[in-house]
């Protein structure tokens, strides 16, 4: 771990008119750290994620990111070209619904290869080879490389979406309910895969989830949101095993035990 945060978030607020999306959120994210944002629907966790990932413009506050050259840059002051470049090289965004993050009418290989071509790779053979490697890493058989994601199961699509995001070796991944809508067994496989990738690649990640088991398995640290505010945050196992706030205690006690 280096001694500067990768992402510095200061007093981020987002209002939809008079309604609060999220309010006064501040934290640092360090290289290699996985942060889970938990809370029920409407708690503002997705709004916060979108503000951080520059998919939404926050009403106030600042998000700074440490670029590959080490310079801290405030995201809102970057040009759109720079932001979009950042998003397809140094960042990833994994949507809950894979169809939002994939090109459904384009083959799996091209889905993975797109970012490479976007940064100027012009050798078909090499692009295809890299795409094949990534399909293997996300446990998709390489003989599916020319199939469209339309022909894939939900779990495969989600894994393809992850491969598509990771191919440029990003340093930060945003994930919005990455296991939502998947069968439990498929979820487990995906979680394990994510866990391994995050560890092997030293990725930083911000994961929005309502599933505390996902937070427990993947994250180092977590934030609990309610009504747009972060009401509790800290080490993941401490928040889950020794919750302080009433709402967190309610959340933790609401988990079904198998």
């Amino acid at each position: 771990m280096t001694d500067t945060p990768l992402l510095k978030v200061r007093d981020i607020s987002k209002f939809y008119g008079a309604r609060i999306g999220c309010q006064n959120v501040s934290f640092d994210l360090w290289p290699g750290e996985v942060l889970a944002i938990v809370g029920e629907s409407g708690s503002g966790k997705t709004t916060l994620l979108n503000c951080l990932a520059t998919r939404l413009m926050p009403t106030s506050g600042a998000v700074e990111y440490r670029m590959r050259d080490g310079e801290m840059r405030e995201l809102s002051r970057m040009s759109e070209a720079e932001r979009r470049f950042l998003m397809r090289t140094d960042w990833g965004f994994v949507h809950q619904n894979p169809a939002d993050g994939l090109r459904m009418a384009v083959s799996a290989g091209a889905n993975v290869g797109e970012r490479l071509m976007a940064v100027g790779d012009r050798h078909y053979g090499k692009i295809r080879e890299t795409a094949g490697d990534w399909l293997r890493r996300v446990e998709i058989s390489t003989d599916r490389i020319d199939d469209q994601p339309r022909a894939f199961s939900g779990g495969m699509r989600q894994r393809l979406q992850i491969a598509r995001n990771l191919v440029t070796a990003p340093r930060l991944i945003f994930m919005d309910e990455p296991t939502g809508g998947l069968d439990v067994s498929v979820q487990a496989r995906l979680l394990d895969l994510l866990r391994g990738l995050v560890q092997d690649l030293g990725l930083s990640a911000i994961i929005v989830t309502h599933d505390l088991a996902v937070a427990r398995l993947l994250s180092h640290r977590m934030m609990v949101m309610k009504d747009g505010l972060v009401i509790e945050q800290g080490l993941t196992d401490r928040v889950l095993d020794d919750p302080r706030e009433a709402y967190t205690q309610l959340l933790v006690s609401s988990i079904l035990q198998v």
Binding site: E80, V106, E114, A118, H123, Y124, I127, I145, D146
Partner: protein, 299 residues
């Protein structure tokens, strides 16, 4: 009233070249902007024309805006001067502008074309006007116009190679044979209209001005003379034009674009120049293909 009086009375109801002067001025402004930013699609207020969309309304408006009384107009459709589309547009301008027309490439000052570039090298002072159905090369991969505009603005063209990648993945080679995307002057990716990729190299450093009009889509774009036009490709799958096994059956020309013509219902076929003017010109100069002799004998 004599027939001549009738037609002059009718002509009086049209402004020169059909469009009113304000409209022509608006289109000329769009054309100037397009020339200033090679490959960039300039929006313009496309007018209703007395022909259906898909029949070259964009090209016709561009031609109408640049046409002067001294111009000599040639109109081709897939290389031919004598097909319906070419004949009607030529007749249209004869009627509304009373300009000289020709089928000879070298005599024309303006050539309006649907889907071909003449085989004969164009020269300085000539203008080639393309009829364009869909001006947006990114359309089929990214349907959102707001997004494709942004992609052009930020020069995000990775998607274009995704299309070529898919081609190779499916067919083992780049199977796109027409409307093959090009990069203009190292900046904008452009759809050269549905011309065969065979014609792409002719666009590069062309001495003639090339204008593109899309009527339904309300876009004009341009390639000024002596502009770099590079077909997109991969290092290991370089751009290649079509090649033909045999020369033209009528004039014996090689290294030209050929059309397949079915001769009978027993599988008989021949390959002839798609550019009819080029073919006739060669025949007039004594060039003969293997079927040309029979044709003459029959006559």
């Amino acid at each position: 009233m004599s027939t001549a009086d009738m037609s002059s009375a009718e002509l009086a109801t049209y402004n020169f070249a059909y469009l009113d002067e304000q409209t022509k001025r608006m289109i000329r402004r769009a054309i100037l902007k397009a020339i200033a930013i090679p490959g960039y699609q300039v929006p313009f207020a496309s007018r209703e024309m007395p022909m259906p969309y898909g029949w070259g309304t964009g090209g016709v408006q561009v031609t109408a805006a640049i046409l002067g009384p001294q111009d000599v107009l040639k109109v081709i459709d897939q290389g031919a001067d004598d097909t319906t589309n070419a004949v009607s547009i030529r007749a249209f301008f004869q009627k509304v502008a009373n300009v000289a027309v020709t089928t000879k490439t070298r005599e024309a000052t303006i050539i309006q074309t649907r889907h071909r570039i003449p085989e004969e090298k164009l020269t300085e002072g000539q203008t080639l006007v393309y009829q364009v159905p869909i001006p947006e090369p990114l359309r089929f991969l990214e349907p959102r116009e707001t997004e494709t505009r942004k992609m052009h603005a930020l020069e995000e063209y990775g998607l274009m190679h995704v299309k070529l990648y898919e081609d190779i993945a499916r067919n083992g080679h780049i199977a796109t044979t027409y409307a093959y995307p090009v990069k203009v002057e190292g900046r904008y990716v452009m759809d050269p209209s549905p011309t065969p990729k065979f014609d792409n190299p002719k666009m590069h450093m062309s001495e003639a001005l090339q204008l593109f009009g899309a009527g339904r889509e309300k876009r004009i774009y341009a390639v000024p003379p002596y502009t770099e036009v590079v077909s997109l490709d991969f290092e290991d799958h370089p751009f290649e034009i079509q090649s033909f096994d045999k020369p033209c059956a009528l004039c014996g020309a090689e290294n030209v674009y050929l059309d397949e013509v079915v001769l009978d219902d027993k599988g008989g076929r021949m390959f002839v120049c798609s550019d009819t003017d080029h073919c006739e010109d060669r025949c007039a100069h004594g060039h003969r293909g293997h079927l040309a002799y029979n044709k003459e004998a029959a006559e």
